[in-house]
Amino acid sequence: MRKIRTPYLLLLPGFGFLFTFFILPIINLAQTSTQTKIVGGDTGQYEQTLRFANYLDAFVENKEQFGRSFLYALLATVLALAIAYPLAYAIAFKSGKYKNVLLVLVVAPFFTSFLLRTIAWKQILGEEGFVVPTLRTFGIISESTTLTSTSFAVVMGMTYNFLPFMTLPLFASIDRIDPRTLEASGDLYANGYTTFRKVTLPLSMPGVVAGTLLTFIPAAGDYVNAAILGNPNTKMLGNVIESRYFKIVDYPTAAALSFTLMAAILILVTLYIRKAGTEELV
């Protein structure tokens, strides 16, 4: 009897907490999303009218930011994967006794506040930094081209900030590959490229899936990079939600947008996991 109860007793406090402060808020958010302004009421006063057209309005009004959120997140994820894969591979197979040190180095930049690092990029890529004048001297960019306040800067900032989230799961699954399987592939006359495509990549798929998810999800909801490194034309959904909450006090639209964002991410993630065919994710 006691044995059966133990796991539930262990779960109770944590799940009670998560239910109260994670599930309930989401239900409440769903409720807020269909409210409308009280006629003649103050700013921020809303009543429940089950107006589902809020979703349509919110989407139509912000479809550009919607598209941008997913496009930027996708670009950042692909870039991060391209940068992180060889890095994780090098740490797993070529670092010898320095493996642990290099792993710590991947996480280390994290310890400096990510805001400070993002602002550092803004200043490095800015007019007073050293990158822009150098590129201009060599004629790589024209006098009028700037690097900050562009969509390029936003995507680059996101790629940079989420890189460790990509590298760590990739490393975890590449490190698990038995080097003898790669040797065996070579013994069977596969060249380097074929070995990678037929052996290394499939074996590291769980890491690719976990890494892309850990990068894509926070990137799609991010607004800090767009706020610091972008301009008004690079605004993402996060920026809209933030300003609806704090500047315009339009809770229903903000709630509808948040909900749509979450639903879109969940659907994409489910499709992606099914396509990638990985069961054990967490």
Binding site: L105, A108, P109, A255
Partner: protein, 278 residues
Amino acid sequence: MSQKIKDATIPTIPIGARIQRWVGRNLLKIYAFIAFTYLFIPVAYTFAFSFNDSGKSNLIWKGFTLNNWKNPCGAPEVCNALGNSIKIGLIATIFSTILGTMIAFAIGRHKFKGRSTSNLLIFLPMATPEIVMGASLLSLFLVLGINPGFWPTVIAHVVFCISFVVVTVKARIASLDPRLEQAAMDLYANEFETFRRVTLPLVAPGIAGAALLAFSLSFDDFIITNFNSGTLTTFPKFVYVSAARGIPAQANVIGSAMFFLALAIVIVGQLANRRKVR
């Protein structure tokens, strides 16, 4: 004869080809070096500008000074914000580590009905964008008539830290050798004793790692904090708000100090682990 061949073959490889071969062999190492440089450029920049004799706005290099390091509270709001961040981080770490470890033991050690639902409930907060989590909690607090501030922020941090604690501790539990516990039982230890003297010490490094992770997540969080903290300033929030008019160099001092402190903790932990293994 063989002497002659040796003499003849070595110098015939032209220098260009030799460089090419060396690059080909070390391509991945060179790449890793470049990637790490990329990762550390903003950290180095932040560190360098912590020595800037800049006054209020730390945008342009004006000269070297140690004053910012001697007097990190020279800009008073910085230390106030830092204090709040540390307090919130510590409380959120303690709660999320306890709750998360209990869940990890339940999922990792027991078979029960609803185990896969439990796994889903742990995965969901990690799959929710921060902005949705922050906004939804804020709207709950508003409905309940609770003003955003210190405790709402702590609660929000516990929510997003729990899942990461569960995943970390669960991984450690999964890597345990069950025979160690069976051995303890065979030696007449009861269930509680086995847990306290065998299981817990073995899982402890995982719990410590989870706590460290929770603290760094909490300390560095901006989006969820921004929604739930009201007028309370935390370190990331201070940096964000003052970004427009330039951040005081003291913020760079604190960012750099945190970097070296965390690095030291990790290195000491690794060394201690290595000694134990030996």
